[in-house]
Structure formats: structure tokens, C-alpha cells
């Protein structure tokens, strides 16, 4: 019997906790929220406790935090229109760079797998790609205006420099750099959701993408490369992404986040009905029309909307969630 067991409830933030992010080694995590602070947590004995509080980096809500793949840098996206980069070269965490350019609220930030690129997006409908140019130096490589509404989330492919974004305009877009002129462009638009797409997550191969939406569904998208065996027509030599599965009828309110574990293949969702749900692909699943089963429903995971869920990157089946109720919860999943 699959279950999600509560390991610890962590309090410390005031007001909404918007996001939690595991350090790549899975022994530290960062959290952020309405109280404009970032808190770094680690384990002391059996208990997770706050080790560091980062203040004064932002003037308004901090919407999202993200660790660089090397684990030495932390990026934070804020409603104050800036993205801050923190590191502890001096011995303790300090903000050593601020990325400015968005007109208003920055909603999401993500590092590329190489750690050389950074993407941000925001309410000004744009997606920015930044290059790490040197010590504490970041240069804007490209401003992508493919969406026509608020952009909610950016996420990188797990191994390639391919970027995905999700928007209030109900679509998901993919981007990559054109090697001929070093300019970034939109290479695919994924349309099927009927309302805001809040989040997205790649599987470990990067050939599938899961998205979640205000339309209360989760969709699984599959990449069809040029000359694919299935006979899906591909023009322009760019892959075509098709929605191969829609999980509907499981969620009763807006789905704010989704996370795909690269070790177990389990998909978890954070929902406005206070529930965390876990889905598993069925063993007989057809790659062109996969089926996923709901294997765990954690009722009242929080007392208010769940904003974020994230699996521990080490694959130890630990999960973090955070909520409007001001709490962060650490869960342990058992099959």
C-alpha cells in the first residue's frame, strides 16, 4: 500500500511559503515566500532546522529559489522585478549579483544543466536567458517574447540546453539556441490546456514533459524527433511535441505544481484543494498513449493550498511541500 508519511512540519516563515528547493546533494534545502526572506534548512540529528536566513535581498515577495547544479549558487526570483544570486565565497551566504531587466514581477528562475545559463520569466510576458559571464557577472543572451500573457514557470531539459516555459496564456513553449546566429528562438508551442499552465517538469530522459494547470488537469507530452518511427510529421527538422495523455477528474481545484522524480519515475502534484497526489505509470503503458494510475492521495496535506512539491534529488523518496498556511512539510514515500 503506497503512502506518504509526514516526517516533520517546519515552521519559520510568516505568511505564504511559495517555494522550496533541494540542494543538488539533498542535504540542504532553501525556502522562500511572502515574508521576503530565504531560509536554508539542514538536518541536525533527526530534526531539520533553519541554518541561515537570507534577508534584505528583495523588497517584495520571493516567488522562487533555485540551486545551481554545482550547489554553490542560489538564485531567487522576486516580485520586486529582480533575480538575486547568492553564494558563500566569503564564508557566509551573500547576494553578489542582481539580475535586472524585467518590467515587473519575476515569477520563476532556473539553471541549465551545465550551470552556464540561467532563465527567468515574469508578468511582463517575457522569458530571459542569461549567461554566466564570469565571477558574479551575468549577461543577457536573449529576451524571448513568445508568450502573450504572464509567464509562470521556466524549467530546463535535464541534459540539453533546451528551455521550457508555462504561461497564463494556457500554452507551454520550448526554446533553444540557433548555432548559426547564437540567437534563441521558440521551437515548439504546446497547446491543449484550457487555462493557466502553472508548472512543468521533464522526466529523466527529457523526452517527456508533464504540465499542470488551472484547468485541473495534468498533461503528459512526448517528443517526436525527425524521422520518428511512429510517423508523426516533423517539419523544419525540429521535434514535434504531442500531448499523449491527460489526467483529468483527479484534482478538484487549480494544480499549482508538479514534480517528476528522475529515480522512481513518480509524478507528484500540489493542488489548491490542499491535497498532494502521486501518480505512477502503469507497467503495460503504451509509449504513444501512456496510462498513469493515482497511487496515493494525501488528504489535508496542508490546511491551505499546496504551492510546491519537490522530490529529493538523491532519489531517497523524500518529498518537500509548502503552502499558503505558512508551513513546509517533509514527507517520506513508501510503496
Amino acid at each position: 500500500m503506497s503512502k506518504l508519511e509526514l516526517v516533520q512540519t517546519l515552521t519559520g516563515h510568516k505568511g505564504i511559503v511559495w517555494n522550496v528547493s533541494w540542494h543538488p546533494q539533498g542535504k540542504i534545502f532553501a525556502s522562500c515566500g511572502e515574508d521576503k526572506t530565504i531560509k536554508l534548512w539542514s538536518k541536525e540529528g533527526q530534526q531539520w532546522t533553519i541554518k541561515t536566513v537570507l534577508v534584505d535581498g528583495h523588497q517584495r515577495t520571493i516567488r522562487e529559489v533555485a540551486w545551481s547544479p554545482c550547489g554553490n549558487y542560489l538564485a531567487s526570483a522576486s516580485f520586486d522585478a529582480t533575480t538575486a544570486i547568492w553564494d558563500k565565497k566569503s564564508g557566509q551566504f551573500e547576494c553578489n549579483a542582481a539580475l535586472e531587466g524585467h518590467e515587473n514581477e519575476v515569477k520563476s528562475v532556473a539553471w541549465s544543466p551545465s550551470g552556464q545559463l540561467l532563465a527567468t520569466c515574469g508578468r511582463d510576458k517575457s522569458v530571459w536567458v542569461w549567461e554566466v559571464a564570469g565571477d558574479d557577472e551575468y549577461e543577457c543572451e536573449s529576451v524571448l517574447n513568445a508568450h502573450h500573457q504572464d509567464v509562470k514557470k521556466v524549467a530546463w531539459h535535464p541534459s540539453l540546453d533546451i528551455l521550457a516555459s508555462a504561461s497564463y496564456d494556457n500554452s507551454v513553449k520550448l526554446y533553444k539556441e540557433d548555432p548559426s546566429d547564437n540567437d534563441w528562438s521558440c521551437i515548439a508551442t504546446l497547446q491543449s490546456h484550457e487555462s493557466t499552465v502553472w508548472s512543468l517538469t521533464f522526466d529523466k530522459t527529457g523526452e517527456r514533459l508533464a504540465t499542470c494547470s488551472d484547468d485541473k488537469t495534468v498533461k503528459i507530452w512526448r517528443e517526436y524527433k525527425p524521422d520518428n518511427q511512429e510517423g508523426v510529421i516533423v517539419t523544419d527538422r525540429e521535434s514535434v511535441w504531442k500531448c499523449v495523455c491527460t489526467l483529468s477528474g483527479f484534482h478538484t481545484r487549480c494544480i499549482y505544481d508538479i514534480t517528476w522524480c528522475h529515480h522512481t519515475g513518480l509524478l507528484a502534484t500540489a493542488c489548491g484543494d490542499d491535497i498532494i497526489r502521486i501518480f505512477k505509470e502503469s507497467e503495460t503503458s503504451d509509449p504513444n498513449a501512456p496510462t498513469f494510475d493515482l497511487i496515493c492521495t494525501k488528504l489535508n496535506a496542508h490546511t491551505q493550498d499546496v504551492n510546491c512539491v519537490t522530490w529529493n534529488p538523491t532519489g531517497n523518496k523524500e518529498m518537500l511541500s509548502c503552502s499558503d498556511d505558512g508551513e513546509i512539510k517533509l514527507w517520506s514515500y513508501t510503496e
Binding site: K152, C254, G272, Q304
Partner: protein, 155 residues
């Protein structure tokens, strides 16, 4: 504001009477659940952003447009803009949301929408009012919060 109102001469309706106090209201043994009337009382005296009138007097809000499910923690309110292209619709909806957000226990999920077929941008307004991230960002805007506070300040 020097701007003239969208609807210069709105229809004005009579205010309803105060809720009758019942003996059970004073009985601590009786569980007091939220009902439609109670939600209505929380929002009926919100001021219209353009007129010195309440949302009740303009029939922007009515008790019959409120649904409460105590068990499921759901409050659903629809409001009716005085004219179909009212530019204040989002602000009015936001005021209702903020009033309920502050007055109700946090367990409630509040949905505020334009009554069906009463506004030209109904879907866009509803989508905006349902997006809690955009609401959170809007409520960090001091000028906007000041305007909302003026609307929901009751005598």
C-alpha cells in the same frame, strides 16, 4: 480622480433590513455555521469605487448570488457590474475577495466571479480574480491597497 464615472446614473435600490437576531444566536450550545446571509452582511456595505453607494444599493451583490458550503469550506460569490463594460469590475471583485479574505477563517476557499453574461470581459476578469499569485502581487501595491481599503471601510 478627475475621470467621470463609467455609469453616471446607476439605478439605486433600497437597502435590505438588518438580519434578525434569533435566540439561537446567543446560545453557546448551538454550532454557528457560516451561511449566505452572514457572507452577504460582510460584503453588502462595501462602497462602490465610483459612487457614494454600497454594492447592495447598486445590486452589485445580492444574497441569492452567494453559496456557502461549510463542510467543504467553500464560499462562492458572483457579482453583477452595473453596466457590461464597467472598467471597475476587477477592482470591485478584488474588494470583495479582500474583505472575505480578511473576515473569514483561512480554511475557506473563496471564489469571486462576475455573474454570467453581465460583463463584456467576463472571462478575463474571472481569470484574473482566480489567480492568487496575481492577487498576492496586486496586494503588495500600496496605492491599490489604499483604494481597496477605502472601498471596504464600513461605517
Amino acid at each position: 480622480m478627475t475621470k467621470t464615472a463609467d455609469n453616471v446614473n446607476p439605478n439605486v435600490y433600497e437597502k435590505g433590513s438588518e438580519r434578525e437576531k434569533l435566540a439561537t444566536d446567543y446560545d453557546d450550545e448551538v454550532e454557528d455555521l457560516f451561511d449566505e446571509r452572514e457572507i452577504f452582511d460582510l460584503i453588502r456595505n462595501i462602497n462602490d469605487p465610483e459612487h457614494p453607494l454600497t454594492l447592495e444599493e447598486l445590486r452589485v451583490v445580492e444574497e441569492s448570488n452567494i453559496k456557502v458550503d461549510n463542510k467543504a469550506n467553500i464560499v462562492y460569490v458572483t457579482f453583477t457590474p452595473t453596466i457590461p463594460h464597467c472598467s471597475m469590475a476587477t477592482l470591485i471583485g478584488l474588494s470583495i475577495r479582500v474583505r472575505l479574505l480578511r473576515a473569514l477563517p483561512s480554511r475557506f476557499k473563496v471564489t469571486v466571479e462576475v455573474s454570467e453574461g453581465t460583463h463584456v470581459s467576463e472571462q478575463a476578469v474571472n481569470k484574473q480574480l482566480a489567480d492568487k499569485e496575481r492577487i498576492a502581487a496586486a496586494l503588495e501595491n500600496k496605492n491599490l491597497v489604499q483604494i481597496i481599503n477605502q472601498c471596504i471601510a464600513t461605517v
